[in-house]
Every structure is written in structure tokens, then in C-alpha cells.
């Protein structure tokens, strides 16, 4: 589903190489986790895949279902089925959460040649999905993420994911800033979306999120490369011994 080959990326503003040859394949129905120390390039990978400005791909490719992601605008990637749950969801004052969701859902449907959802159908759908994430009517009415707590922001990300039904979900440090209960709620939301047609790329510092969202494959990223891949046990190894040992191992 997602195929990344030899991806090299540098910053646009300064001559700094962040990704130095990433190879990664995420199959439909699988959950892949990427772990790594600060500054290893995990978040950059998520931004480059989702089409954020400020990065230059110097080498390599990234494809989603055979389509060249790197040639597409951010909105086209979303319509093609890519979704990034932000580490820091952005506050948009003045735009109602519901308006935003509906605009996004219908823009994607339009881009795919589907009919737009009617107001009634949309409302029904959003209420159903919001309920499972314990998002109340008030949160839906308020401006996007404005005044939301950390947990509310992350649940709101998962709600968007549930509404947009992407093929590939990237979760960037979704556990950051969450207490145990909030993390459980978010993880349940993600697990409910696990499906054989859908792939996940879960980026995290810590193993604890992976107790709740159990991955099929764990990758360790260090200095812009994936240096080691393995089963869920690899996450435990990191938890017990830190990244230093792996870094030493592959050096």
C-alpha cells in the first residue's frame, strides 16, 4: 500500500539533510510502528508524506497504491487516502469544527467523483462517530481545536480520521500529552478503524502506546534511516535498554 524507497529529504531553508535513505513498505491491514530518539526524522517523514511545505526530496520515491505521492498537493494526497493525525493539532479560530469536518468530507468525496453527503446524512454519521470517542455536541460546535484540552485535540484527530476513512493513517506522536485514560480512549478509536483494507504507520517515542495499539512490525529510526525492524518485541527492547544499545549494534 505505502511504498517508500531510498527517500532522501533536506530542509528547504537550510542545507540540512534529515532523511538519508528511508526504505519502508506498509501493507494493507498492517500496523507499522516507527520508534526513534528525538531528531531522528520520524516527524519529518510524516510531514513529507502528507505534503507539508518546507522540505525538498533529493532522492527516492514514495507511492500510495502505486500513485506517486510526492507529485501531489497535500489535498490530493488526502483525497487519495492518506491521513496524518498531527502531534500538535492546529487551532483554527472562527471555523466551527462541524463546518470543517463537513467541508473536508465533501471536498474529498468531490475529488473522488462521489456525491457530497447531505446535511442530514453527515450529521447522523458525525454524531455516531463522535459518540464512540466521547466527543459531545459542544466540542463539535466550537471552533476547530480552540480551547480544547490535549486529550480533546487528539480525540478530535481520531474523529476526523473516522469520518474521512483513509487508506493509510499516519499517527504522529499521538500519545504525547495524554494521560492513561485519554490514551486508552484514543487507542480504542484507532483500533476500531483497524481493517484489512487499511494500513497504519504509528510514530512514537515510547512503547506505552504500543501496549494499546499493538503493531505488526516495529522499525527503529536513527539519524534519518531505519536501522532495525522486527516484531512487537523490538519495542520492549527499546523500552528496557533505550536506543543506545541499538545504535551501538548497528554502528
Amino acid at each position: 500500500m505505502l511504498e517508500i524507497k531510498n527517500l532522501h529529504v533536506k530542509l528547504e531553508e537550510e542545507d540540512k539533510q534529515i532523511l538519508k535513505g528511508v526504505d519502508l513498505t506498509v501493507e494493507a491491514g498492517k500496523v507499522h510502528a516507527i520508534m526513534g530518539p528525538n531528531g531522528s526524522g520520524k516527524s519529518t517523514l510524516s510531514y513529507v508524506l502528507s505534503g507539508r511545505d518546507g522540505y525538498v526530496v533529493t532522492e527516492g520515491s514514495a507511492q500510495l497504491d502505486g500513485h506517486d505521492l510526492l507529485e501531489m498537493e497535500a489535498e490530493e494526497r488526502a483525497a487519495a487516502g492518506l491521513f496524518l493525525a498531527f502531534q500538535y493539532p492546529v487551532e483554527i479560530p472562527g471555523v466551527g469544527n462541524m463546518t470543517f469536518l463537513r467541508t473536508a468530507v465533501n471536498a474529498q468525496r468531490k475529488a473522488r467523483g462521489q456525491e457530497e453527503l447531505s446535511a442530514a446524512d453527515f450529521l447522523k454519521l458525525v454524531r455516531e462517530k463522535a459518540k464512540a470517542l466521547q466527543i459531545d455536541a459542544d466540542m463539535l460546535k466550537r471552533p476547530v481545536n480552540v480551547g480544547f484540552s490535549g486529550g480533546e485535540k487528539k480525540r478530535n484527530e481520531i474523529l476526523q480520521m473516522a469520518m474521512l476513512e483513509p487508506k493509510l493513517c499516519i499517527l504522529d506522536e499521538t500519545d504525547s500529552g495524554l494521560d492513561v485514560d485519554a490514551m486508552k480512549l484514543v487507542a480504542d478509536g484507532v483500533n476500531a478503524l483497524r481493517d484489512e483494507g487499511r494500513g497504519f504507520l504509528v510514530i512514537t517515542h515510547y512503547q506505552r502506546l504500543l501496549d494499546h495499539i499493538v503493531p505488526d512490525v516495529v522499525h527503529i529510526m536513527v539519524d534519518g534511516r531505519i536501522v532495525k525492524s522486527g516484531g512487537p518485541d523490538l519495542a520492549l527492547e527499546v523500552e528496557n535498554h533505550g536506543y543506545a544499545r541499538i545504535q551501538a549494534e548497528v554502528a
Binding site: 505534503g51 489535498e75 488526502a78 473536508a104 474529498q108 475529488a111
Partner: protein
């Protein structure tokens, strides 16, 4: 001290081209006095300090710059609001298109009819608040308006109006040179919402004088029409009594030239005055120059004033803000706030801001701020990453930017109506 020759010539040239209408004694006296003011001040000239950022030429010259009539396809703003509607076509009151003028607690008379009488309550206000507003800064276009206006409405509010009054100014002729003068007197405890919409004409000179007595409330919401080539100079002069409220909001989309002046005097203790505006201009669809000039005078204790102005500019559009808070000696416990912000969607657009505070009392809290910035790239990417195309995402950010000004409208239904029109207009613009 004489006027510079150029200014004198331009003034006489314009005065030679106007006709002061015939009327009863009270109005005729007011008009003659206003003519005297115009002659002594002279009409605005490019060298005047107060017109440093906006060229007055096309507002002053006798010839009317033509303006194409804008064809709107959607239903008009305020159509969903239950209101008493008065329609002016190219500056002439159209009784056929207007509602019956009966409204409980409110007396409404067209200016041309009331002007025929020898004496009228409006005598104490018509041209009077305008004249007060000529100091310390001259606003001679307003005096010109007082001298020659023959259309407008006189409203006296004695109770709480059960619905808003809506003045609609239609533009139908390419060379319509329109002068409108409204007077509103809110008596003690009176409460009125006035809605205004429409471009008015190819060139519009509009004055509104508002006197809010102790405990009265006046809410004003206007949209200035979307005609691209229209030009307008508008003035609002307001005087506020004790514990009174004055709140005004203006939405401007398009327009070759707009100068909106608000001159507000808080003369009674505990009065509240809010003025807000949102202006959106795109130089690609014609010239856009929008100027908000505000002068608020605190002359009583414990009053609050608030100015919130937002401008969204692209493709060479120009926005101007001149805002002043004057706190007179003795106006203690004044709470004054002023913010003017622009969202510049490209490098070609310009925002010129001149915020001023002049304070002669020692126990006051006044703050002001002015910012210019590009669109928030983080927010834009967030929206796009959800599949919202760049143009729609930009418009969502634009709406988000002006929302703070629209929020100044107290009535939620009216605020929602204004917001939904704005969204529809942006959508139409995207095509």
C-alpha cells in the same frame, strides 16, 4: 487664515455644481450653515494630513466617476431577518418598494417629507452633531452632505423597537451621484437596531447622526454592497449619554474607494461604544482602497470604547486604518481598546495604519495594537491535509480572521446572517 488656492478652487468648483434643495425653515437654515462650513474649511485635498493615505479627488470632483451596476444573484443580506425595510434607489426613497413605516415605539419619516415642515425635532441634531465633529479634525465632505442631502430618514426611538429598521440602498444607474443623510434620536430607554445594505450609487456621500440619550441603546450593522467600481465617503457621528450603548459593525466587500469615518463622543458616564469592521478586497477584480477612520472622544467617567477592524487584502488591494482615542481631562476610569489587523494574501497588497492615543486623564486603561501578516501556513496545511483544496482552505482562514470583528455584532441571528452571506460571496468568487 485663507485656504490654499487649489483647495479653494476645487471647493468652489464642486459647490457650483451642486443644488441646495428647497425646504422648510429648519432644514434650510441647517443647510445654509453647512454651506458656510464647507466654504470655510474647504473640501479635502491630497495634501491634507487627514487624507494622507486616501486620495479624496474622486470624492470631491464635480464629475461622477461611473460605476457599473453589480448584478447579485443571491438573495440579499438581511432577507431572512424580520425587519422594517426602506428602499432607496440611486438615492431616492422608493415608497412602493418599502414597508409601511409604522413601528411601535419608533417614528420614521423620510427626510424630504420632514424637511418641508417649518419646525421639526430633528432641528436639534441635523447638521448639529456633524458640526460638533468638525473639531479637532475637519470632515468637510460631511458638511457638504448636510448642505445638499435631500434623501434619508429621520428616526426617533422612544421605546424598544420589536424589529430592526433596514435601509437598503440600491444602485441602478452608472452615474448616480448619491447623497443620503440619516438622523437617529434614541430617547431615554429607547432601543433600536438599524441595518443598512447596498452600494447606494456610483458615488455615495452618506452621513448618519445618532444621538443616544441616557440608558438608550443603538445597534448598527451594515454591508456596503459588492459593486466593484463604486466610491463612498460615509460618516457616522454619534453622541452618547449616560449608561447608553452604541455598537456599529460594517462589512465591506469590493469597492474602488471607501472611506468610512466614525466620530463618537461619550458624554455621559458609564457609556459604551463599540465600532468594528471587516473589509475584504481583491485588486484583481478592480481597484480596492478601503479606509476606516475612527475618532472616539471620552468626555465622561467610566466609559468603555472598543475598535476592532480587520482587513483581508490581495492583488494590490490597499487598506487604511486611522484610529484615535482622545481621553479628555476628567474622563477617569476610561477603558479604551483598539485593534486593527490585516491579512495580506500576497506581497502586492498594502495596509497602512495610524493608531493614536491622546490622554489627558491619569486613571485610564487604554490599549491599542496593529498587525499585518500573511496567512497562517500551519493552519492552511492542517486544512489541506484533510483534503480541503487550497482556495477553500484559504477562504476558511479568511473567515476565521474576520470572525473576531463579526463577533462584535451582538444579535446572534444577524451575525449568523452576515457570516453566511460572506461565506456565500467567497464561494461565488471561487466560482
Amino acid at each position: 487664515m485663507g485656504l490654499p488656492q487649489q483647495k479653494l478652487d476645487a471647493t468652489e468648483e464642486r459647490l457650483a455644481a451642486i443644488q441646495v434643495p428647497e425646504s422648510g425653515a429648519w432644514l434650510s437654515d441647517a443647510r445654509q450653515a453647512a454651506l458656510g462650513r464647507v466654504r470655510s474649511m474647504g473640501l479635502p485635498h491630497a495634501r491634507d494630513e487627514y487624507w494622507k493615505y486616501t486620495r479624496p479627488q474622486t470624492l470631491v470632483q464635480p464629475e461622477v466617476p461611473h460605476a457599473k451596476v453589480f448584478q447579485a444573484y443571491e438573495s440579499a443580506v438581511f432577507d431572512d431577518i424580520e425587519r422594517l425595510r426602506m428602499v432607496f434607489v440611486d438615492g431616492v426613497f422608493d415608497p412602493e418598494a418599502s414597508d409601511d413605516l409604522t413601528l411601535s415605539g419608533v417614528e420614521i419619516e423620510p427626510l424630504h417629507a420632514a424637511g418641508a415642515a417649518d419646525i421639526h425635532w430633528a432641528r436639534d441634531l441635523y447638521g448639529v452633531l456633524e458640526a460638533r465633529g468638525q473639531s479637532p479634525v475637519e470632515r468637510s465632505l460631511a458638511a457638504l452632505n448636510t448642505a445638499c442631502a435631500n434623501a434619508g430618514v429621520l428616526i426617533r426611538v422612544t421605546g424598544k423597537a420589536d424589529r430592526p429598521v433596514n435601509l437598503t440602498y440600491l444602485h441602478q444607474t452608472e452615474d448616480a451621484d448619491v447623497v443620503i443623510h440619516n438622523v437617529v434620536k434614541v430617547e431615554e430607554g429607547g432601543d433600536l437596531t438599524l441595518l443598512e445594505n447596498g452600494p447606494g450609487g456610483a458615488r455615495l456621500n452618506k452621513v448618519m447622526e445618532v444621538d443616544v440619550a441616557d440608558g438608550g441603546a443603538f445597534h448598527h450593522v451594515r454591508t456596503q454592497g459588492r459593486a466593484h467600481e463604486r466610491r463612498a465617503a460615509t460618516h457616522v457621528f454619534a453622541r452618547l449619554g449616560r449608561e447608553s450603548t452604541f455598537k456599529s459593525f460594517t462589512l465591506t466587500v469590493n469597492g474602488a474607494l471607501t472611506r468610512n469615518e466614525a466620530v463618537i463622543e461619550l458624554t455621559g458616564d458609564d457609556a459604551v461604544a463599540h465600532v468594528a469592521g471587516a473589509a475584504l478586497g481583491d485588486g484583481a477584480s478592480g481597484d480596492f482602497h478601503h479606509d476606516d477612520t475612527v475618532f472616539i472622544t471620552h468626555d465622561a467617567v467610566n466609559c468603555e470604547s472598543r475598535q476592532v477592524f480587520k482587513k483581508v487584502l490581495r492583488n494590490g488591494a490597499v487598506g487604511v486604518f486611522q484610529g484615535k482615542i482622545l481621553v479628555k481631562d476628567g474622563a477617569q476610569k476610561t477603558d479604551g481598546y483598539q485593534i486593527s489587523q490585516s491579512l495580506l494574501l500576497d506581497d502586492d497588497s498594502q495596509f497602512l495604519a495610524k493608531p493614536e492615543l491622546e490622554i489627558y486623564a491619569d486613571d485610564v486603561a487604554c490599549s491599542h495594537g496593529s498587525t499585518s501578516g500573511a496567512i497562517d501556513e500551519e493552519g492552511l496545511f492542517y486544512l489541506r491535509s484533510r483534503g480541503v483544496p487550497r482556495e477553500i482552505a484559504t477562504d476558511l482562514m479568511v473567515v476565521a480572521f474576520v470572525a473576531e470583528a463579526i463577533d462584535e455584532i451582538e444579535d446572534e441571528a444577524i451575525a449568523a446572517d452576515v457570516l453566511s452571506r460572506l461565506q456565500a460571496w467567497l464561494e461565488r468568487r471561487r466560482g
